[in-house]
């Protein structure tokens, strides 16, 4: 890529984002505008913003690289992303969340739970969980964006990190959710064009759909020995049932991210931004196409890169990337796509990073300001567009993300994403689903479920799941071994036991405690 051309393209792109952020800023007058875009976003803007927030650089680079290593089995995640992440999320959860948030006059995910359960403690606990755990995810999105800027512009990594953090922090700080959603929607349009061209170009390069798959099937004997020993049976086959690789792909990647999407605070609060359920049904159409061309493309292109590399260089993708899976997709694209596409893909990656980052910082800011600070100091609550606690929350969120960017290890992108999605599903999903669909759910049940979900997840990551327990080292320090239990527990994602545990606790505690007042339930549900 020509650095001068790339600079002009990126500056033009940033100029458009600035204009859109300014429009959002001018239209932001009340606290509702800042928090939920005035509840009047169009289905197009909502669906594209949801999609752009969902798909970060980690989904494109990190998960694309993982698909290049493990193969087409990851397509089950793409299927779940569309069915659960769009259809179920929009048409079932979304319609309930939108309606209930309006009836209870709340504007954030933690305050929705707190209002439904009539519990300040639930609001504060959920807000704190978002504010304390989300920075790790924000940080890896920041790392992904900064790595791109570093490589594309040959910038110092520290400078790239600061540029990205300051730019995104600044427009979230001033513009609120309208600025975030307008810029997200534009970023989504850029991402869509980039990924569409990538999918079509890749299948053309490998000779078409069936021919490309067949060529990859014929390469099954090229699977590296270490992967074959872990259960890899070829890029167009599922791993051997019950093998370490099977547990990693099915429990961590497919179920962890696939189910986790339903309880993501930065995504679920998008449903509060539209004015009626019709908008959510329309958004299913837009969201399905968008998510298909994002995750579908990534999980098809990743494995097929092996065919291209083998036919052109005689090696597989993992060899080209020299062990760093995050390099597979960039290496593939720079090898075979025309130069104009490299600029488009550069914008695609930048868009993916900025759109996700801005949404995460917005949610962290509102969790700190609206759900925690204002619960302790109600007198600071105002109807103006942006309160000081919210702004403080955004600043603290940016600082935490930057600090963690230096602390987290390399090759962490896909794993940290799965960690965040899994921990959210276990901690929030039973309480959220119960709040929306089960009138008998109580505040004690919700609180016990949230605590159980997070506690069991963290216990699993620290003491049982090898991939996290080993680098944490706490289990080794306390018990002299990496994990407490042997295989398969070392490879079973904590979501698989934390979510059922949180669900059982929610139901049992709810049934054992006093049901909510009928009058309140009528306000919530009728």
């Amino acid at each position: 890529m020509n650095l001068a051309v790339l600079t002009v393209v990126v500056l033009g792109y940033m100029g458009i984002l600035t204009i859109l952020a300014y429009i959002g800023y001018r239209q932001t007058i009340t606290a509702d505008d800042y928090l939920v875009a005035g509840r009047s976003a169009s289905p197009w803007v909502m669906a594209l913003s949801y999609g752009a927030t969902f798909i970060s650089t980690s989904a494109i680079i990190g998960f694309g690289g993982v698909a290049g290593l493990y193969g087409f089995s990851l397509l089950w995640l793409a299927f779940l992303n569309i069915v659960l992440g769009v259809w179920i999320a929009f048409a079932f959860l979304g319609t309930r969340i939108r309606r209930m948030s309006l009836q209870l006059d709340v504007s954030t995910f933690p305050s929705l739970l707190g209002a439904r359960y009539q519990s300040r403690a639930v609001t504060i606990a959920s807000g704190l969980a978002v504010f304390l755990f989300m920075p790790a995810y924000t940080s890896i999105v920041l790392i992904g964006g900064a790595r791109f800027l570093q490589e594309a512009f040959r910038l110092d990594y520290n400078v790239a990190l600061m540029i990205l953090a300051v730019i995104v922090g600044l427009y979230v700080f001033t513009g609120g959710l309208k600025a975030v959603m307008y810029t997200d929607a534009f970023s989504a349009a850029v991402m869509f064009c980039g990924m569409l061209a990538l999918l079509v170009g890749t299948y053309r390069a490998v000779g078409g759909v069936v021919a490309g798959h067949q060529a990859l099937s014929n390469m099954r004997n090229l699977v590296p020995e270490t992967l074959a020993a872990a259960g890899h049976q070829g890029w167009t086959a599922m791993p051997a049932f019950g093998s370490p690789l099977w547990w990693t792909i099915v429990s961590t990647i497919i179920l962890g991210v696939g189910v986790g999407v339903l309880a993501q605070p930065q995504l679920t609060m998008r449903f509060m931004t539209v004015k009626n359920n019709k908008s959510l049904y329309r958004a299913v159409l837009i969201g399905s196409i968008f998510i298909f061309f994002m995750v579908g493309t990534v999980y098809m292109v990743g494995p097929l890169s092996n065919v291209y590399f083998y036919h052109t260089r005689g090696v597989i993708a993992a060899d080209v990337a020299q062990g760093n899976v995050d390099l597979i997709i960039p290496a593939f694209i720079s090898s075979f796509m025309p130069e104009w596409f490299l600029y488009l893909f550069a914008l695609t990656l930048l868009s993916a990073a900025i759109s996700t980052l801005s949404s995460l910082l917005h949610v962290q800011g509102s969790a700190f300001g609206y759900d925690v600070w204002e619960q302790f100091f109600p007198s600071t609550r105002g109807r103006e567009r942006n309160s000081l606690p919210n702004q403080l929350g955004v600043i603290v969120g940016v600082i935490l993300a930057v600090i963690l960017a230096y602390v987290l290890p390399a090759n962490i992108i896909a794993r940290a994403t799965a960690f965040w999605y899994g921990i959210c599903a276990a901690g929030f999903l039973p309480a959220l689903a119960g709040a929306l669909f089960w009138r008998r759910g109580t505040k004690q049940g919700a609180m016990a479920s949230i605590i159980t979900g997070f506690a069991v997840s963290i216990f699993g990551f620290v003491f049982l799941h090898l991939a996290e327990a080993q680098p944490f080292g706490i289990c080794q320090a306390l018990f002299g071994r990496d994990t407490l239990l042997a295989f398969p527990w070392t490879h079973v994602d904590p979501l698989l036991y934390a979510l059922p545990a949180a669900l059982v606790v929610y139901v049992l505690v709810s049934l054992l405690t006093k049901p909510p007042a009928e009058e309140h339930l009528k306000k919530c549900f009728d």
Binding site: W87, H213, S217, F292
Partner: protein, 39 residues
């Protein structure tokens, strides 16, 4: 099927494409559904 080694992976590919088509059809059918204009 579809050049894949096993049926499970081929099914994942087909279902991914079909789920997008389903989303389009669902969105079109419900495009003008009026159910909650009062809220």
């Amino acid at each position: 099927m579809l050049g894949m080694q096993d049926l499970t992976t081929a099914l994942a590919w087909l279902l991914t494409v079909c789920s997008m088509v389903f989303g389009i059809i669902f969105g079109l059918i419900y495009w003008n559904r009026e159910e909650d204009e009062h809220i």
